[in-house]
């Protein structure tokens, strides 16, 4: 019996171990208790060519790390119910439908799946679903009740190094958000090659993983993210995100993890 191993995922989202009551699942494939998969079906395929049976499992809808009303009054429970419960669930179901039909794709980790289906800018249909599942998991974890304020310690230092000051970063981030057209996302990323933080705008489902950069925090600017709470007032939504929702704790954790892969230090070249 073949074991489906937990493929190495360089940037796993924060701990999946949750005792919350809501339907939770993990994005590591496992063939244990079906209920972890949020009720998705599992297939038991057996192939004659291999004497071992392979089991396929699919992605589930992961709960945000807080109750759906925890972000009130800045992001309403209703918004979470529709955005997470309907939109993201739709993306998960679409992704699972794609993976059902594709033997090769379901073998990938989420990160790999996104990069492969992005197909260097000519995305396959699976890309949209996969990326949006990842994007929204990342987004919920980029916010917290009592969020906002400022980052501290190492992350703050890096922001000050790359943007001059936190105020300047905040201004640039908001400006990027307000000058983006249509359905899009704005990200704070750590650029791997340049070894610095940067603000990146992407459209539709695209995220910085496709360029192999490391997202530190992100903001969903699709209208569905703010329309119920702010109607057309995108500026108010963006400012509220910065002032009351963004989780600098989550960002700091991602930054710390990122430094295992990107060396941000100055080289100390000894003088002979």
């Amino acid at each position: 019996m073949s074991l489906v191993t937990c493929s190495s995922n360089q940037f796993p989202l924060s701990s999946n171990v949750r005792s919350s009551a809501g339907p939770s699942s993990n994005n590591l494939r496992s063939f244990f208790d079906v209920s972890h998969l949020g009720g998705e079906q599992r297939r038991h395929k057996s192939r004659n060519s291999r004497r071992m049976s392979s089991i396929t499992a699919y992605y589930g809808l992961k709960s945000p790390p807080y109750e759906l009303d925890a972000l009130e009054p800045y992001m309403s429970q209703r918004t979470l119910e529709v955005h997470w419960g309907a939109h993201q669930r739709g993306y998960v179901e679409a992704l699972n439908k794609h993976l059902e039909k594709n033997d090769i794709l379901y073998g990938y980790t989420m990160d790999e799946l996104i990069k492969v289906t992005y197909n260097n800018g000519n995305p396959w249909p699976e890309f949209n679903s996969a990326a949006q599942v990842w994007n929204h998991d990342f987004f919920w974890e980029s916010m917290q009740p009592g969020g906002g304020e400022m980052p501290t310690l190492g992350l703050l230092q890096q922001i000050e190094k790359d943007f001059g000051s936190f105020i300047n970063f905040r201004e640039k981030f908001i400006e990027a958000a307000l000058t983006s057209f249509g359905s899009c996302w704005v990200w704070l990323v750590l650029k791997r090659e340049k070894k610095c933080l940067a603000i990146v705008k992407t459209s539709n489902a695209i995220n910085p993983l496709v360029w192999n950069d490391i997202p530190i925090t992100g903001l969903d600017l699709w209208e569905h993210a703010y329309y119920l709470d702010y109607k057309n007032d995108r500026a108010k939504y963006v400012n509220t995100f910065m002032d009351h929702l963004v989780s600098w704790d989550a960002a700091a954790a991602r930054m710390a993890r990122a430094q295992a892969f990107v060396n941000l230090g100055e080289p100390k070249i000894p003088v002979a």
């Binding site: 529709v82 309907a86 249509g182 359905s183 489902a205 569905h224 329309y227 119920l228």
Partner: protein
Amino acid sequence: MALRTLITRNPLRAAAPLASRGLQTFSLPDLPYDYGELEPAISAEIMQLHHQKHHQAYITNYNKALEQLDAAAAKGDASTVVKLQSAIKFNGGGHVNHSIFWKNLAPVRVGGGEPPHGSFGWAIDSNFGSFEALIQKMNAEGAALQGSGWVWLGLDKEFKRLVVETTGNQDPLVTKGASLVPLLGIDVWEHAYYLQYKNVRPDYLKNIWKVINWKYASDVFDKENAN
């Protein structure tokens, strides 16, 4: 009724010139119906926000971009002229598209939803097989569109046929072909339906046909064919 008089009365074409430079600015066209008259297909709340906030914002930003473009062109600032293109395409496109959209809609009491007849109806049948087939095609393409955009029924003047196309963001139909004339456009940006239909875009598309103004599309079709 009172709502409409709050909006400036200048229709799309009679733009007020900016006195000093003779630069035409644009203003929000009136709707030929009240915000609530498209219920229950499209709610009054959506119509009001869509018209007074979203369309107005496109116009405001379009005017601003045109002023900046004018200034840059006068100075010979080529890079600024080029930089402004995306803002002009987006906001200008938004103004053009929404101006068409308001005319594409009509309350049931004045014929909204009534299928087309005559040469236009015949053209639909010969291009798509049937009226229902056209609706189905537009619904499918509209639902499948990722992100924000429009689904169009257009007349290809060069090949003398009707086409269904989608465009992203506020790209006008002409970005899909210089010979394409928009007859019908359906806004599938989330702001066009979210408050009422939430994420269920297919329901919005199914219901909007009840208030589509086929007469306007037919008139444009006949006029373009006459040319």
